[in-house]
Amino acid sequence: MNLSLLLRMGWRNLWRHPRRTTLTALAFAIGVFLLIVSLGLGDGMHEKMIETGIRLGSGHVVIEPAGARDTVDELHYLDADAAKAVERILDQAQIRGKVRGAAPRLLASGLLSSANNSTGVQVVGAVPERERGVALLPDKIVSGDFLEEEGRTPSTVIGAALAKKLDVGLGSKVVLMTQAGTEIQSQLLRVRGIFSTGMDDVDLRLVTVRLEDLQAVLHKPGAISHFAVFLDSSADTAAMRDRIEQRIDDSFAGTPPSVLSWQQAMPELHQFIIIDDAGNYLFNGVLLFMVALGVLNTILMAVLERRREFSLLLALGMRPREITVMVMIESMLLTAMGAGVGLVLGWTAHTYFATYGLDLGRLMNQTFSVAGVSVDSVVHSYLYPGRIRWTLTFVALLGFAASLYPAFRAAQTKPSEATQE
């Protein structure tokens, strides 16, 4: 018997119980819908967290002195020669083509005081032209500008929470106290800009000044703590990290600087995402298992109440294998209908949330953060390539698994049953 006939029979069999078929397919559709929506929102939230982490932190790829991570960044520097060598490598055509920007930075820790208060801060010396368009802070300026103006007093840009704490505004003077060598240095700075990221730690503890100003304060002309490399596409991270590392290892004589991907530079964030994903899979996997049991139930009932029919078919010469295939087709069709409807609904919701976002603002009056990166209250759905294919494969496997036992039972029917009862 050919497959198209079996297909037609399976389809008709399904609609002998339209209500039952509809309900089962509906359950499956809900399962697939939830899977796509939750994957979309999960991926979207993760992607946003990664983007925030990368733009706020040290880029997709960070180049820093070897061993810097064992203590804290500011105690290790690339000297002027090493920094120039790194710049040359980043300027090579095969690398520059995929790099949106590379920002050299110098880090220090110190005490920032106004007439009213003082607090411990993390100081970042940055080149404004090279931060703009890639790093997060220039986009988060709420008043003033990002280190554009150069006056007689070195400029600084501080967070809104820090400005409030020190009770200073644009144009105010603050004193940065930090250590250069064995002596404590005090440097007068003028507040030229104020940023607000919404992340408490950042807004209260981060201070930016121009790179050359910080180099002068620390008596470290040309020194760099790290290069933050921002790529056009985050998908290139691993490949570009390897390529840059290769070039650096080739051209440095002594200990070359280490090259880290954002996953290595922000292990907490990376691990959180893996674990959150695993939880998401587990939850949806169990839901779909629950739904697949519904398919099993429906098909098994359909098989058991048609024992006479099967035995008649067998008596007429249909082979047990063909009955197996027919029942499997029924199950797969049922799964396909449910999955199809779920896919359409899920994709629609995904497109909607991708455009307008899901506002969790009503659930949370405050943002919360994971691994120091704040989670936005508006989540935009995003699906990694391959998610839909992965979902459909999983669903098809479930539908197939649910059909095995009923198909096996159906094929075991004996021709003699038709005449009995």
């Binding site: 209500r19 039952r20 309900l23 089962t24 359950a27 809900i30 399962g31 064992d70 203590t71 804290v72 105690l75 820790s109 005490l111 920032l112 005081s113 208060n117 003082s118 607090t119 411990g120 801060v121 993390q122 929470a161 704490k165 009770d167 106290m177 930090t178 250590q179 060598g181 064995t182 404590i184 408490d200 730690d201 292990p267 907490e268 964030l269 691990q271 893996i274 674990i275 939850f283 169990v286 839901l287 629950m290 739904v291 049991l293 519904g294 139930n297 429906t298 098994l300 009932m301 058991l304 109440e305 659930l363 949370m364 009056n365 405050q366 943002t367 919360f368 953060s369 994971v370 691994a371």
Partner: protein
């Protein structure tokens, strides 16, 4: 019930109920395979719901405990306006040590630790870091926070000792160990620059990078000396009460007794709003779980019961023909649905108990994937332990029965609306 004076109508209706119950139960097992599969599907959903509720409650419990017990305490008292700027000049406008001692007399206060806090630069050799300098009383802290138990080496400085306790990361950055000297420079309350030498008395590891890398702790009296504060000038009093869940209630009681003009009593929810937000978020998340699991369970029940009813329409017709009231037929079907829900719950309990026991007793060990990460500024993991949230399990169980009964009403009314004459002739499928 069996007393001879009981009135007959009541007795007969009672026995009818009993009969309906028995019929419903028997009907359920006319197709044992279908019942078993449906019950399994619902049980799987319920086990997952219980699992998620348990893990979430466990995470909330651990995060709140960690967040409050490490340094913050369940609640804190400050001068009004001290938060969030923590200006060194805003000390509590009362004799602070005396106030802390008086608070201890109250039943709901288990511990009260007076503290001062300032920012300064700590240096050793050619390395220096801007840090928060906290002045703490070791004995009082041990009643309020667990910081004293987080020491890798040494301890908090004793009363009057010119020692300093540092976090693991800070000690590593400065390259110092126990007994080494560090210098602290801080802005003092009289406008001068406080500047003094201390020996490292202990190194702690809290698991929070911000604390391990940014906090240096002196003895309270020694810190007051550095900052030119009088012994009674205190910035905050951290308080431990019976449990974090009582913090808000105790805070409002204390606020009322102490007066609200110049003092602010803040529960942890105010002190760590991120954590409170996370708790609220995870609670709303668990309601979404309820809805999803119950929706799928309701569809399973509806599907199974529709099958069960439609294959027995003939039977219902006969029952109606011999005088069974529609209400009784509905009762019979609803009994069957409720019994199905109960069987599912029993199955969920049997299958789920070992899973939940494992989650609560040993927890999910993620240490192969992570050393733990911070959420809302609180360290989480690497082992996630669940909690026996029996009240929530019971609520979920009752909601499931309710859900099943609602889903069963449609098949039941279909069964009850059977027209005996047409049905017995087999005219309606």
């Amino acid at each position: 019930m069996t007393s001879s004076t009981g009135d007959p109508p009541a007795r007969s209706s009672l026995s009818l109920d009993a009969v309906l119950l028995r019929i419903g139960w028997r009907n359920l097992w006319r197709n044992p395979r279908r019942t078993a599969i449906t019950a399994l599907a619902i049980a799987v959903g319920m086990i997952m719901l219980a699992f998620v509720l348990s893990i979430m409650a466990g995470m909330q419990r651990d995060m709140i405990d960690q967040g409050t017990e490490l340094m913050i305490g369940h609640l804190q008292i400050h001068k009004r306006g001290y938060l969030p700027d923590r200006s060194i000049f805003d000390f509590i406008p009362r004799p602070g040590r005396t106030l802390a001692a008086e608070l201890l007399d109250r039943d709901e206060v288990f511990g009260a630790a007076p503290r001062v806090s300032a920012f300064g630069l700590i240096s050793s050799g050619d390395k220096s870091v801007g840090v928060e300098i906290a002045g703490m009383d070791r004995d009082a802290e041990s009643q309020v926070t667990t910081l004293g138990r987080k020491f890798v080496r040494g301890d908090l400085p004793a009363r009057g000792e010119r020692g300093i306790a540092l976090g693991r990361i800070l000690a590593g950055t400065l390259g110092v160990d126990i007994g080494d000297e560090v210098v602290i420079i801080a802005q003092a309350a009289d406008g001068s620059l406080g500047n003094d030498l201390y020996h490292v008395s202990g190194i702690f590891r809290s698991g929070l990078d911000l604390v391990d890398g940014g906090v240096a702790i002196l003895d309270l009296g020694v810190a007051q000396e550095l900052l030119s504060l009088d012994p009674q000038q205190i910035h905050e009093i951290a308080i431990r009460t019976t449990s974090p869940s009582r913090a808000q209630a105790v805070a409002s009681v204390l606020q009322a007794t102490l007066g609200s003009t110049d003092l602010q009593v803040a529960p942890w929810q105010t002190l760590i709003p991120q954590l409170a937000t996370w708790v609220a978020m995870s609670n709303s998340w668990s309601w979404i779980m309820y809805v999803i699991v119950f929706a799928l369970a309701a569809i399973s029940v509806l599907n199974t019961m529709l099958m069960a009813v439609f294959e027995r329409l003939h039977e219902f017709g006969v029952l109606a023909a011999i005088g069974m009231r529609p209400r009784s037929i509905i009762g019979m079907v609803v009994t069957e649905v409720a019994a199905l829900a109960v069987v599912s719950l029993v199955l969920a309990t049997i299958l789920g108990f070992p899973i939940l026991y494992w989650v609560v007793a040993s927890g999910i060990d993620l240490s192969s994937m992570t050393d733990g990460f911070s959420m809302s500024g609180v360290p989480v993991g690497p082992i996630l332990r669940g909690d026996w949230v029996l009240a929530k399990f019971a609520l979920a169980g009752m909601l499931l029965i309710l859900c099943a009964v609602i889903a069963g009403l449609y098949p039941a009314t279909r069964a009850a609306s059977a027209d005996p004459a047409r049905l017995t002739r087999g005219e309606i499928r």
